[in-house]
Symmetry: C2
Subunit: 647 residues, 2 copies
């Protein structure tokens, strides 16, 4: 299809093709390329929305209780009495955060992740901080969820324990492939397991509580040994706070829906908000249920068998197929929970890239319309973490959640500030600020208090987390986040500088090209260099051939050959007593460049063999490449290589 | 200095400079660059010649006896009675080889290494084989000599044993630096240690034999334990041959003088020949002396203490400063013996490169007039061997010497053939064949017999070596040498093909350049792309700007901007529904190229940002580089990038 336009004197030809690219190994792996027009406009209802966005949040019920117990274990099994009260405190915090986010969803129907809220209401630096915190946490979510999923599998099949790192990295690769295929397909893929998990967990907790009430609930048979490194013996307030911090891992993933509001059916804010509330309710119920049951069954936290496994086999004792159902559901939901990060990380990094905080390439969609570069980066970084931490959930947890709470704080704080600004408007007034619209709302005070309270709570939790887990590994995150922020700023400055350097404001008409000098360096008179000479003469009448002489005999030969074949073109011989090749040439070119008249441009035409096999390049001096690199920084000097194909 | 010539209508300007290159970190490391005119024309006498060329050969006395004993050890200490007879046989072989080489020196006054002799008299394949064998052995010489030197040091200072690999690699690096500085200086550097070693060894052997004769020679106190892996108990003919093979390591380095004849004062063949004979005599005397003394002192071969160390401390017992003198002399000579390879390897690889069997770059002299690339390659390969074999002489020895004997055989065989040809000439006749001159000599029959006998002897030894040491590691060399020969042939074929493809024989006058089309791909209208447009218009009136559109909105903006800034140049918009950038562009270029008229050429002008920092390149799509790579193999399409310097 060719469409001819003739506007303003310039001919514009638009050519379009429907021909898909040739199939490659990528086609086989992730499916045929999709045209941009196929971008999904399809929206999802509340039920599917829950499946897509809740797997991360819900899956944390699989390890949150255990992480509380691991900390309390140093004070002996008696300390396990605190598991339920601590869980209750966490659920209250969860309620605050959920209500707070519900407000954000209504205020940002176009998607209100912490980065956007911070950017619109707090400015660049808080936005970069939120971005850094979230990206760090998305990577950790993948590492923690997949490691925990593998821990469930190795609880049921201890024989697989030595291969846990390999299995975990393999699973990350698998999720990566699914995501490279595209979001639409991955949504459908994840719906069934999420509901299977919810069902199995409610059944387990329900049966457990029923048997507890009827007095038929036993205790864990053959429990794993308690592996506390050093026994403290006494329960300190610090220990309680420490356990509380670990348990807050249950809140991770709660923000996922706020990033994906646009995926919901209209009225989307309402649907997304309802889904968020439902998710919070289900999560709280299951978490409290599990935390309640661990005490009567006398479960013991261990790397070798998870609490979920101990709970399921006690509740369904004597061993029933339902036990394996729970293990399977938990393992699958944990592995798939990583998928939430696979949806969020690439989207957030594309957003950061579009705003110039990350390399632009991250904002380009791949052949399947997803941000492939982001997906691949996430997989690589998460796999690295899994390998470094040997797929141990206990080792990864201290790094985890601190970023989430930092982003919670910034998001809620930004919202609170937004409500205050809205409160200053007249009724019905609307103003635009930094790309978002502020509209007067009457109940802004209440909303400001709710978001402000959320911000204070999450900030306090973050501080508790940072202090109690500092030496366990939280310090790593406290170093990485500022480094990331500095990195973002550096990139941002580069793009801003570039944009101003390239801007056409104050762009004067450039000087007309006067003289066009062509310099032709060559190393011998042969078909390749004559092809370059031929091209050089087509460019300009002002051609100078340059030969660097290392050996006087060789030079004499070249000179005689040039007199025969050189078309009368002037030859400059540069004697190089130190046997250097590039340096005398560069010196000569710079000398010529220095003597330029205004408007004069210089083109260096370099003959280059192109051997049939790539490896043969090692047998030649790659003069063209070196010259280009050396001259790249000199204005007004262009380097062209004239390839000469051999064979 | 500018010299103007005007021959045959072509202006030729010759520019010369005496200005040395700017100092760099290399200057600091290896000295200021030397001009070609400084190439050493200085020659050396017999005494210095011995120091420069004999260190490799003489140093083998430090391990040859021990290597015989290591093999015999499996048959118990009684087998050590065979050490002296075997050594005697090796000395006879050495005499044959030395006499044989003395003839070569006179026949090739310009330098007659095995490669040259084989090339001139036997043809390409034997020459490549000799080259491969010698290069392999030079690398092994460095690895074995340095490892053995380090073994002497760790005999005296066992505390250094765990660091032997590091010490050995460090020493290789040190010798590399000395050699990168240049041959002249390294010659002077090595004279003193060589004579110190000769003196110390004669003293040790002399005192040892004196004490033996006077009955005052004791036995080794606290000898190391015998470390035979499996005790055989009986002495088999195979074992004797095996021990003989190991001992032939004493012959390595004997060929060094034949490569370096030109370094000697006139009459150079005579001087070189006399030096060779003296070297053989000194070597034989020391080797026999050591092999004789090991039995009365009851020395035991061991990785922990060398035979030389055991001998010296017994001869000078009670411990005297002379013991440390022997150790120091031996360690130094061994480490410096590697220097002979550092002289020969780069020279031989330059020779092979000049003949087109190795990459041309190896034949270029570096800033200090030495073949720096060869020196660096040798160091890298030898260090690799030392690391792989953990600096163990016993492990390296089976790989060693087989290449030397192969090159001996080819060299002597080639000489024998040469004498036969000379015998067919008339008295006084002279013919030229393959670059060397054959002149009638009357006593050709005797000379032919001597060289022929040498060839047969060394061939037999090589076969014995290959068979007895096959499974110890000799098979590695028997695989590597044919691989190297295949590699040489491949490179040779490439250069021959290239030469014929570039040849100006049958070169017709090329078609005159007709149309010159310029295609300007750009990704946005800004100062960078307008600079490229400006250049494109200077090249030709036939310019087409090409924009790949991924997003219709963005495209509309670019189109409007182009109408304002595009100088009326035709714009082609390629819609890319699959969000590919390079592919639609390449497709378009290939389409234009396919529709070319005869003589039409196409230049692709690509705007390219040049950020101030290199790392910032990661923030951009490097379109120019990708396009150039993709189009390199298409004839008649040139790619120019117009750099736009930012900041």
């Amino acid at each position: 299809m060719i469409e001819m336009n003739d506007e303003g004197g310039t001919t514009v030809v638009v050519r379009s093709t429907d021909k898909p690219p040739r199939p490659s190994w990528q086609t086989w792996l992730i499916g045929r390329p999709l045209p941009t027009a196929d971008a999904p406009h399809q929206t999802i209802g509340k039920a599917v929305g829950m499946a897509v966005f809740a797997s991360d949040a819900l899956s944390s019920t699989a390890y949150a209780t255990q992480e509380i117990m691991v900390i309390l274990a140093v004070a002996g099994t008696a300390a396990f009495g605190y598991v339920f009260p601590i869980s209750l405190a966490i659920v209250i915090l969860l309620a605050v955060v959920a209500i707070s986010y519900e407000q954000t969803i209504h205020a940002y129907p176009g998607g209100g992740g912490a980065y956007i809220v911070a950017r619109d209401n707090l400015g660049d630096l808080p936005a970069e901080t939120a971005g850094a915190a979230l990206l760090t946490d998305y990577i950790l979510t993948v590492a923690v969820s997949v490691s925990s999923g593998v821990a469930q599998i190795t609880s049921a099949f201890p024989i697989l324990y030595p291969w846990r790192v390999l299995i975990a990295v393999g699973l990350v690769g698998f999720i990566m492939l699914i995501n490279l295929r595209g979001v639409k397909e991955s949504g459908a893929f994840f719906a069934a397991p999420t509901y299977f998990f919810i069902g199995m967990m409610f059944l387990t907790v329900g049966v457990g509580i029923f048997r507890f009430l009827t007095g038929t609930l036993g205790t864990v048979t053959n429990p794993p040994a308690l592996e506390a490194v050093e026994m403290l013996g006494t329960i300190t307030p610090f220990l309680i706070l420490h356990a509380f911090s670990s348990g807050t891992a249950a809140l991770t993933g709660i923000e996922a829906i706020s990033n994906g509001i646009t995926a919901f059916k209209e009225p989307r804010s309402r649907n997304a908000g309802i889904t968020l509330i439902w998710m919070a309710v289900i999560l709280s119920t299951l978490f409290l249920g599990i935390s309640f049951l661990v005490r009567p069954i006398q479960a013991v936290p261990s790397e070798l068998e998870t609490i979920i496994s101990q709970l399921a086999r006690t509740v369904y004792s004597p061993v029933s197929p339902l036990y394996l159902g729970v293990i399977a559901a938990t393992a699958v939901i944990l592995v798939l929970a990583a998928n939430t990060s696979f949806a969020d990380f690439p989207r957030l990094s594309a957003l950061l890239a579009a705003d110039g905080f990350l390399p632009r390439q991250l904002s380009f969609r791949g052949s399947r319309l997803v941000y492939s570069r982001g997906i691949i980066s996430l997989s690589a970084l998460a796999s690295l973490l899994i390998i470094i931490f040997k797929a141990s959930v206990n080792a990864l947890i201290p790094l985890y959640a601190i970023g989430v709470f930092l982003s919670f704080t910034l998001s809620q704080g930004g919202m609170a500030l937004r409500w205050r600004k809205i409160g200053r408007l007249h009724p019905g007034q609307e103003i635009k600020e930094r790309g978002s619209t502020l509209r007067f709302e009457s109940n802004w005070t209440l909303k400001m208090v709710i978001n402000g309270f959320g911000a204070v709570c999450t900030f306090v939790v973050m501080m508790v987390f940072a202090v109690t887990k500092f030496k366990d590994g939280a310090f790593v995150v406290l170093i990485i986040i500022p480094l990331l922020v500095a990195f973002f700023s550096l990139i941002h400055r580069h793009y801003l500088n570039l944009a101003s350097a390239l801007s056409l404001d104050y762009y004067g008409e450039p000087q007309r090209v006067g003289r066009h000098r062509v310099i032709l360096p060559f190393s011998g008179v042969h078909r390749g260099s004559l092809a370059a000479l031929h091209y050089a003469q087509a460019l300009s009448d002002d051609v100078t051939a340059v030969y660097v002489s290392i050996d006087p005999e060789e030079m004499e030969k070249v000179r005689r050959k040039w007199e025969k074949w050189g078309n009368g073109i002037r030859l400059v011989v540069l004697e190089s007593p130190y046997r250097l090749f590039l340096e005398p040439l560069l010196e000569y070119i710079e000398e010529v460049a220095a003597a330029r008249q205004p408007g004069e441009i210089i083109t260096i035409v370099v003959p280059q063999f192109v051997p049939a096999e790539n490896a043969a390049n090692l047998l030649h001096m790659r003069t063209a490449d070196y010259l280009r690199k050396a001259l790249l920084s000199k204005p007004g000097i262009m380097v062209t290589n004239v390839p000469y194909q051999v064979e």
